[in-house]
C-alpha cells in the first residue's frame, strides 16, 4: 500500500512502475513487495558511500543507467589483466550477466533510464573474471581485489550443477576468503554474497557447491512473486536468506540493465538474488558502517522472515528462528535491516570449537541408516574456543563409497534441529566418495552448542549401483562449531529486533492497564454498546459497521447524501486528503491521484493512459511515447525513436539521422558505411558499394560511382553476356543481360556482336549452328515468309540455312 503513502517515491525511470518487488503501484493487485526496500529508502538509506563489486563476466561501465555510479577503483579485468572491466561483445551477448547483476544493485534513480537499483546511490564496480579460464588463481585474485576499498563482493556463479560435481573454492580462493574476512574493510571483514547453488538443472544438491557452503559467504535463495519455489531452486542447509526472483513464465520478472545499453526483464535464477541482497546489505552498511561480516549475517538471521514463502519444511529452531532448507530464514526485510543496523552492537568475537570423531571405520549398509553421535561441551574447557551459542555448524566427512549419489546425510543438533546436509543425487555415479568435504548448516543458529550431535547417513542404492557387495564406509567426521561464548545480543544491553517483536507472541506490546479499559467501557454504556468498527475514531459509533462511525481513524468515504463510511485507504479514483481525513474524487479518468486537478493524476482508469509530462490521462499516448498496457502509463520511447509500440525499444519511426533496422533505430551512416549492430557503429561497405547492409560484396544496396549493378553485386564493368544501360528513375547504371547465347552485345534484341560456341551471328542474333541440307524439307520458304526466324522459339530450327540461302 505504498502508493497511498504520501511519502511514496516516484521515479521517471521507464521501468520503475514494473519493479513490483520494490513497490506496489496497484493496491489490490497480487503485487508483493515485502522486501520493504521502499521503506528503507524512506528512512533515508540508499547505499551512499558503500562500494559493491560484481564478480562476473564484466560490467558495461558506460551504460547510461550505471555510468554515474560506476567506480573504476572497484573494478578490474582479471581475464585481460587490465583495469578495464568492459565485457567482450559478441553476437550472442553471452557476457551480459555481470551488467545485469550490477544494475540490480546500483542502477541510477530518476535518470529516465531503465530501472532503479536497490542501492541507487552506492558505487558499483565489476571484476571481469568469468570470461576466460577460471582457475584457483583467477578466483583468488578476484576475491582479493582492494579489500579495504570494496565493501561487498557479489557473485552469481559456481560449480557445475550437473548433479555429479562436488567442487568449491580451491586452496588459494579459500585463503582469499579468509584474508578478506580477517583484513577486509579495515578489519570489519569483506562481505561475500553468493547466489545459492543452482544452475538450472535438476537432480543436484547445493551442498556440493563449496562456495555457498562456506561460512564466509552469505548464500541467497530465490522465491517467486507468489512465494512459490522457482523450478530451478535447490534445497540447502547453508542458505541464509531469500529474495524475490523470476519463476514460471506467468510469474512477473525482475528488470535490470542489459548489455548494449539496453534494459531487460530476462534476468533470472538466483543470479538475481545475490545482487539484491548485496544492495540491501549496502543500505544496512550506510545505516551502520561499523558492522562486521558476522553482524551482517546476524542481522539477516534476525530480520528475514517466512512471510508467504511456501515450504514444507518450515520449522522453528530452539532459538526461535524460523528456517527452511529452501529459503533459509526467509525473505529479506530491508527496512528491518537498516533499523536494526542503526542501533546494532557488534556481536562478541567468533569462537571455533572443533571435535573429531574417533578413527573407527563405520560401515554404511544399504537401507540401514547409520547413526553416529558426538557429545560436545562446546569446548567449554577452552575459553578462547568456547562456543555456547551457535552460528554456523560445519561437518567435515571422509567417506568412501562406490556410488556417491546414493548417499543422504543429515545432522541433528542437541536441540533436535535436523539439517539435511546432502540429498541423494541421481546423476552422481562417482566412486570417489567425500574426501574431507565440508557440509555446512545455519539451521542451528542461536541454539546451544552443548550436547549430543547426531550424524545420520543413509545409503539407498540406485539401479545404477554396480556392486551391492561393496559397502560404503565412514572413515571419520569432524564437527566444527562456530559461535560465541556469550549470548550474542544480551551482553551489550538490549537491542530488540523489531522483527522479533512482530513474530514472537510471548513478547507482546504492553497490555492496556485495566483501569483504562474499564473507563473506556463506562463511557459507551448509554449508547450503542457493541464494538465499533475498527476504523472508527475516538468519538465512537452508533453501530457495528464502518458507516456507523462518528468519526474516522483514517479516512471517510462518500458524502452525507450517499452515505459516508470510514476506510483505512481510499479506493481507486479517490485521493486521501490527510488534513480533512477524507477521500476526495480524482479528476475524471484518473485512477490514482494526489489531488483533484487533472495535473495531479498518477495513474489512469482502464482504456486511458497516464502521461507523466502532463500528469493527465489520455486515450492515446503522443509521439515519442507508447501505451504501457500493464501500468496504463505513457512511457517514453527509446531516445532515438519518434514512434514506438508496446515497448520503448520497439520503434516504428526514428528521429532525424536515425533509420530503422528491424524495430531498432540505428544511426544513419554516411555513404559507403553501414550500421554494424554487433559493434554498434558505422562500418565501411565494400569498396564497390555506396550503400550496403553489410561489409560483403553481396550486401550492396547501391553501387559506388564508376560501378554498375549486375544482378546482386556491383562491378567496375559488365561481365561477358551483359551490356551497360541506364535504368529509368535510378541513378544506378545497370549491366543487363544480352540475348540468350550472345556473349557480347550493345543492347537488347538484335544487337549481339558475339555469339557463344555453337551459335553464329546473324543480323544481330545468334543462330544455332545446326544446318540442314534440304530447305524444302524444313520449309524454309514458309519460315522466311512468316519471319519465324525472328521468333526466338523457332530460331533454332535451320534458320541459318534458310536465311543464308537467301
Amino acid at each position: 500500500f505504498a502508493q497511498s503513502d504520501p511519502n511514496f517515491i516516484y521515479f521517471n525511470d521507464p521501468k520503475w512502475s514494473n519493479m513490483w518487488y520494490i513497490h506496489c503501484s496497484v493496491k489490490n493487485s497480487r503485487c508483493r513487495s515485502e522486501m520493504n526496500i521502499l521503506a528503507a529508502w524512506q528512512r533515508g538509506y540508499t547505499g551512499r558511500n558503500v562500494v559493491i563489486t560484481i564478480l562476473d563476466d564484466g560490467i558495461e561501465k558506460n551504460h547510461p543507467d550505471l555510468a554515474q555510479n560506476y567506480d573504476q577503483l572497484a573494478s578490474y579485468d582479471v581475464n585481460g589483466n587490465d583495469h578495464d572491466p568492459m565485457p567482450r561483445y559478441d553476437s550472442s551477448n553471452e557476457n551480459k550477466h555481470g551488467t545485469r547483476c550490477a544494475g540490480e544493485v546500483a542502477a541510477v534513480a530518476n535518470n529516465s533510464h531503465c530501472i532503479v537499483g536497490i542501492a541507487y546511490n552506492a558505487r558499483i564496480g565489476g571484476i571481469r573474471m568469468l570470461d576466460g579460464d577460471v582457475t584457483d588463481v583467477v578466483e583468488a585474485k578476484s576475491l582479493g581485489i582492494r579489500p579495504d576499498y570494496i565493501d561487498i563482493y557479489s557473485a552469481s556463479w559456481g560449480p557445475d550443477d550437473d548433479g555429479k560435481t562436488v567442487d568449491g573454492p580451491g586452496p588459494l580462493a579459500k585463503q582469499a576468503f579468509e584474508v578478506g574476512i580477517k583484513k577486509g574493510r579495515k578489519g570489519l571483514g569483506s562481505i561475500f554474497v553468493w547466489a545459492s547453488g543452482n544452475g538450472g538443472r535438476q537432480g543436484d544438491h547445493c551442498s556440493c557447491d563449496g562456495y555457498t557452503n562456506s561460512i564466509y559467504t552469505i548464500s541467497v535463495s530465490s522465491s517467486t512473486e507468489n512465494g512459490n519455489k522457482p523450478w530451478y531452486l535447490e534445497v540447502c542447509s547453508s542458505t541464509m536468506a531469500t529474495t524475490y526472483s523470476s519463476g514460471e513464465f506467468y510469474d512477473r520478472k525482475i528488470i535490470t540493465t542489459d548489455l548494449r545499453q539496453r534494459c531487460t526483464d530476462g534476468h533470472t535464477g538466483t543470479s538475481v538474488s545475490a545482487p539484491m541482497v548485496a544492495g540491501i546489505i549496502a543500505l544496512a552498511l550506510e545505516a551502520n558502517p561499523l558492522i562486521t561480516w558476522r553482524d551482517v549475517q546476524h542481522l539477516l538471521v534476525k530480520t528475514s522472515r517466512p512471510v508467504h514463502l511456501k515450504a514444507s519444511d518450515w520449522k522453528t529452531n530452539a532459538a526461535g528462528h524460523k528456517v527452511s532448507h529452501l529459503y533459509g530464514f526467509g525473505l529479506v526485510d530491508a527496512e528491518a535491516m537498516v533499523v536494526e543496523a542503526k542501533k546494532w552492537r557488534s556481536v562478541p568475537p567468533q569462537h571455533t570449537c572443533t571435535k573429531m570423531s574417533d578413527r573407527r571405520t563405520r560401515y554404511i549398509r544399504p537401507d540401514q541408516k547409520l547413526n553416529v553421535t558426538m557429545s560436545s561441551t562446546g569446548c567449554s574447557g577452552q575459553p578462547d574456543q568456547h562456543v555456547a551459542f551457535l552460528e554456523h555448524v560445519v561437518v567435515r566427512v571422509l567417506i568412501v563409497h562406490p556410488r556417491r549419489g546414493d548417499l543422504e546425510i543429515s545432522l541433528v543438533s542437541p536441540s533436535g534441529t535436523r539439517s539435511q546436509l546432502l540429498a541423494k543425487r541421481l546423476f552422481d555415479n562417482s566412486n570417489e566418495g567425500f574426501r574431507n568435504w565440508e557440509f555446512m548448516t545455519v539451521h542451528c543458529w542461536g541454539e546451544r552448542a552443548e550436547g549430543t550431535w547426531t550424524l545420520e547417513i543413509s545409503d539407498s542404492p540406485s539401479q545404477l549401483r554396480s556392486n551391492l557387495e561393496v559397502l560404503g564406509k565412514l572413515k571419520e567426521w569432524t564437527l566444527i562449531l562456530y559461535g560465541t561464548s556469550e549470548h550474542p545480543y544480551q551482553s551489550h544491553g538490549s537491542h530488540h529486533s523489531r522483527a522479533r517483536m512482530l513474530e514472537i507472541p510471548s513478547v507482546q506490546s504492553p497490555e492496556p492497564s485495566p483501569s483504562t479499559t474499564q473507563q473506556h467501557e463506562d463511557e459507551e454504556e448509554e449508547e450503542y454498546t457493541g464494538p465499533c468498527h475498527h476504523e472508527c475514531g475516538d468519538q465512537g459509533c452508533d453501530g457495528p459497521d464502518a458507516d456507523h462511525c462518528l468519526n474516522c481513524i483514517h479516512f471517510s468515504l462518500g458524502s452525507l447524501k450517499t452515505g459516508r463510511r470510514c476506510v483505512s485507504h481510499c479506493p481507486s479514483g479517490y485521493f486521501e486528503d490527510t488534513e480533512a481525513r477524507r477521500c476526495r474524487r480524482c479528476h475524471r479518468g484518473c485512477e490514482k491521484c494526489v489531488g483533484r486537478s487533472s495535473k495531479e493524476c498518477r495513474s489512469c482508469r482502464r482504456g486511458l493512459y497516464f502521461h507523466t509530462e502532463e500528469s493527465s490521462c489520455i486515450e492515446n499516448c503522443p509521439n515519442g511515447y507508447f501505451n504501457d498496457e500493464v501500468q496504463r502509463h505513457c512511457l517514453k520511447c527509446h531516445e532515438n525513436c519518434v514512434k514506438c509500440v508496446q515497448d520503448a525499444d520497439r520503434c516504428t519511426a526514428c528521429k532525424k539521422d536515425f533509420s530503422l533496422a528491424g524495430m531498432t533505430c540505428v544511426p544513419e551512416c554516411t555513404n559507403g558505411t553501414f550500421f554494424n549492430l554487433e559493434e554498434m557503429k558505422c562500418s565501411p561497405c565494400h569498396v564497390s558499394c555506396s550503400t550496403c547492409t553489410g561489409p560483403g560484396m553481396e550486401e550492396c544496396l547501391h553501387c559506388s560511382r564508376d560501378f554498375l549493378q549486375e544482378e546482386w553485386r556491383c562491378v567496375p564493368k559488365c561481365s561477358p553476356g551483359h551490356y551497360p544501360s541506364d535504368s529509368i528513375g535510378f541513378p544506378q547504371r545497370m549491366c543487363r543481360k544480352c540475348e540468350e547465347n550472345c556473349i557480347r552485345c550493345q543492347g537488347p534484341g538484335t544487337r549481339c556482336t558475339n555469339c557463344r560456341d555453337g551459335y553464329s551471328l546473324l543480323s544481330g542474333t545468334c543462330i544455332f549452328h545446326a544446318t540442314c541440307n534440304n530447305t524444302d524439307e524444313v520449309f524454309c520458304d514458309m519460315v522466311k515468309s512468316n519471319r519465324l526466324c525472328e521468333k526466338k522459339l523457332f530460331r533454332q530450327f535451320c534458320c541459318r540455312t534458310c536465311l543464308m540461302t537467301g
Binding site: D133, T135, A140, K141, D161, T165, G200, S271
Partner: protein
C-alpha cells in the same frame, strides 16, 4: 573430476623472501612472475609461455623441476574450473 581436468600454463607458487626471490625462482625455470596473488602473502602467479596453454595432462619438461626446488613451499599448476552462471 581429475579425469577431465584441463591443465593451463599458469602456476601458483608459495615462496618466501618477497617478490625478488620469486622473480629469481621464476626465471630460473623459465617462468614469468605475474606478481603476488591478491592479498595472499608469499603466493605468486607464475606463467610459462613454452608450456601449452591448455592440456588434458600435466606436461613435463624442465619447468617441472620447479616442483622440487627447496625454496618452493607449495606449488599448484592451475586447472580450468567449470563455473556456471546462476
Amino acid at each position: 573430476s581429475p579425469s577431465r581436468s584441463v591443465f593451463t600454463n599458469h602456476w601458483a607458487v608459495r615462496v618466501r623472501g618477497g617478490a625478488e626471490e620469486a622473480d629469481k625462482l621464476a626465471s630460473k625455470y623459465g617462468f614469468t612472475n605475474f606478481g603476488q596473488i591478491g592479498g595472499l602473502e608469499d603466493h605468486y602467479h607464475f606463467h610459462h609461455s613454452h608450456v601449452v596453454r591448455r592440456s588434458t595432462f600435466a606436461t613435463r619438461g624442465t619447468h617441472s623441476f620447479i616442483h622440487m626446488d627447496p625454496k618452493v613451499d607449495w606449488i599448484q599448476q592451475q586447472i580450468v574450473k567449470s563455473r556456471v552462471k546462476r
